[in-house]
């Protein structure tokens, strides 16, 4: 009986402790949000009583919102430098990543509880926040000169520029990454046309123990890269207005022959046996290892892959190069995934100070603070950064203007399910045209849900 009594006390104690642990976590989270709300209240009070001034002695504090994954140490350095050199400080509210944070931002804009600056995506995700009402039109500002033209489109809405590029969400240059050692062993050269590329794959396959091209379809998002680099940039090169036409439903993806052909190319490499046998079970991590160690000769990806490769295989980072995927006529263009944006809110009580901060951030003085810490591609003119070798290879195309924005950035709706459709191209046996039509159906559904005109 005594034993039973002690046992029941122990069980009750464990239950209470586990309930407290569960409660503790949630109260911690609610505490965070309540603290951030308090601080917003306190800071907006502070900002309204402080006068915007050019004297560094009198500091102005601005507020900004950003999602966790889009902020890094480089941006912290820019904020610190701005505080030191021009006396404008920015207090950041860090929100959760993914759709959770997006919902928070959408709700805040719906209830007009906004900060001075917004650091967020560009393109479709921003269009839902009603840019005409909420954001300041910055097309006539002097600092806009520092923004490369190719990045301006997704930061504009209905022809008016609202944002400047967000350095920490980086420009993604997409191309075919290759292992230089494998190429030099087999005495291969960078292919200038698509038929040369196929011959190259055949040579590598014949040589035996190296996979010509690596597909990592277990991480379905990575399957999108080959269609992007083999078709999307050429669609835009052939018709610079194609983004506009698709956005207003005057053209469908199924009508663009090079878009459908990019699915065919994705399948062709598999049918000819140029890819790894376990392509459906291979992950993004497996691909990095295969490329770095020379088990695979080539891998279609974007420049963001160099950071994890540098972390995991620091010895092999310089063995990796990249080239633009060629089309039939030898004029090679690469695909670019645009950056996020920095927007100024119309309701800010400190428009002048905000403009000063953005101006500092876009000029070499401020932007270089970012690039001292992060090895990303500069999103502003006049700034240099130390890039990885492969990124440098792709940067040449970017700097020469032989780059086109990906469709993801050119249309106001999301390409829902594109990653799954790319895998379907490989496994389902449906024709590329049918799958392009399915993509159109998905996009139409999203456009209707967002109330975009023309759908």
């Amino acid at each position: 009986m005594k034993f039973k009594g002690i046992f029941s006390v122990l069980v009750i104690a464990c239950m209470i402790l586990s309930i407290l642990a569960g409660c503790g976590a949630t109260t911690g989270a609610t505490k965070d949000t309540s603290v951030s709300q308090e601080s917003t209240g306190a800071i907006t009070e502070e900002v309204s009583t402080t006068q915007a001034s050019d004297l560094p002695a009198e500091k102005v504090t601005l507020t900004g919102m950003v999602q966790n994954g889009m902020w890094n140490k480089g941006m912290d350095a820019v904020v610190a430098a701005a505080e030191a050199k021009i006396g404008v400080k920015v207090e950041m509210q860090i929100l959760p990543d993914g759709s959770q944070g997006e919902q928070v931002i959408k709700t805040k804009y719906a209830s007009n509880d906004v900060t001075d600056l917004l650091f967020y995506w560009a393109g479709a995700t921003v269009a839902v926040l009603n840019p005409e009402k909420n954001f300041l039109d910055i097309s006539k500002e002097s600092f806009v000169e520092n923004v490369p033209d190719v990045l301006k489109y997704p930061l504009s809405y209905k022809g008016v520029l609202y944002g400047v590029p967000l350095a920490s969400s980086g420009v993604g240059l997409c191309g075919m990454f290759y292992n230089k050692k494998v190429f030099s062993n087999l005495k291969l050269e960078i292919p200038k046309t698509y038929s040369e590329f196929l011959k190259l794959c055949e040579t590598i396959k014949a040589a035996g123990n190296v996979t010509p091209v690596y597909y990592s379809c277990k991480d379905a998002w990575s399957a999108q890269l080959l269609p992007m680099i083999s078709g999307w940039s050429y669609c835009v090169k052939d018709d610079p207005e194609v983004g506009e036409k698709i956005s207003t439903n005057k053209l469908k993806f199924a009508d663009i022959s090079k878009f459908v052909a990019s699915f065919d190319k994705l399948k062709e490499l598999k049918d000819k046996g140029y890819i790894n046998k376990d392509y459906l079970a291979a992950t993004y991590d497996n691909a990095q290892k295969a490329l770095a160690l020379g088990e695979a000769a080539m891998y279609p990806m974007g420049s963001w892959v160099m950071s994890p490769i540098a972390e995991k295989f620091p010895e092999q980072v310089n063995d990796i190069g990249a080239f633009g995927f060629p089309d039939d006529d030898g004029d090679v263009w690469i695909d670019v995934l645009g950056t996020g944006g920095v927007y100024i809110n119309n309701s800010s009580k400190n428009i002048d100070a905000t403009k000063k901060w953005v101006s500092f951030y876009t000029t070499p003085e401020g932007a270089s603070e970012y690039y001292k810490i992060s090895r990303d591609i500069p999103v502003f003119k006049g700034v240099t950064a130390e890039l990885f070798g492969a990124t440098e290879d792709l940067n040449k195309y970017y700097v020469d203007g032989k780059a086109a924005l990906a469709f993801t950035n050119l249309v106001p709706f999301e390409l829902v399910g594109f990653d799954k459709i790319c895998v379907e191209v490989l496994v389902s046996g449906k024709s590329s045209l049918d799958l392009a039509k399915q993509q159109d159906m998905n996009c139409e559904k999203d456009a209707k849900a967002k109330g975009i005109q023309g759908f």
Binding site: D278, E414, V427
Partner: protein, 291 residues
Amino acid sequence: MINTIEKKYYPYWFVVPGLAIYFIFFVAPNIMAFFYSFTDWSLLECNFIGLQNFYELFSNPSYVIAFKNTILFTIFVTVFKMAFGFLLALLLNMEIKSKGYLRTIFYLPCILSTLAVGLIFSSLYHPTNGLINKAFEFIGLGFLAQDWLGNASIVIFSTSMVEIWKWTGFHMVIFLAGIQSIPKEHFEAASIDGANKWQTLKHIIIPMIRGAINTNFIFCIIFGLRVFEIIFTTTQGGPGYASEVINTLVFRNFSNGYLGLSTAGGLMLSIIVAAIGLPLNYYLGKKEVEL
């Protein structure tokens, strides 16, 4: 002093808190879902759009695949869980020294976290490095090695095998309870009358555990139709759309912001489960034998 009426009704007051929580967090949202599925609601707005969500559900090819996969999964899983569960219950009801330990071991998989099980089996099912294919090659049955999670035609069967592995123990326990509740006199009478094992099984055990069979059958059907975690953690509905089920599509639509469509999908699933489960429960219940 408490008068007679209060004395009669005061026990009911004790269930009010529990019922209130149940109502607010379970019943009310289900009723609200019924109305929301006819709109295209989002955080900011809500417009009535009639049956458009349901039309979308039946016309989009990926939803048709999801319905087909869900039914296939349910049938496959029900057949094998019931069969293996019953077999194990019979075997572990016999007098074996270690039957206590064996029962525990067979029951353990169902208390494991489904996420962990999904991750482990993703690794086991890997076509070149996975243990299952390597084991087949080691014992010379290399021709049985498949791309378990990558082959679109067998992926739904591979995932159902994980589900079967995980939940057979649970059904075994229910069957065991049923078998052990049969009074010993029946078995004695049967052995006196000269019945062999098969006849005992057919004429005594199966009729007497009707209740357990019904319970297990309903459980299998309902949990088969509601499957989500095991598919999500092993294949995320892939490759392509090959292993999508209703719940993974509802989840994907919810993440994409099509809240009205996902509500309609969830409502559709509830209707299917109710339409299959309730009549089944009633029909099978009528055939139960009183002990």
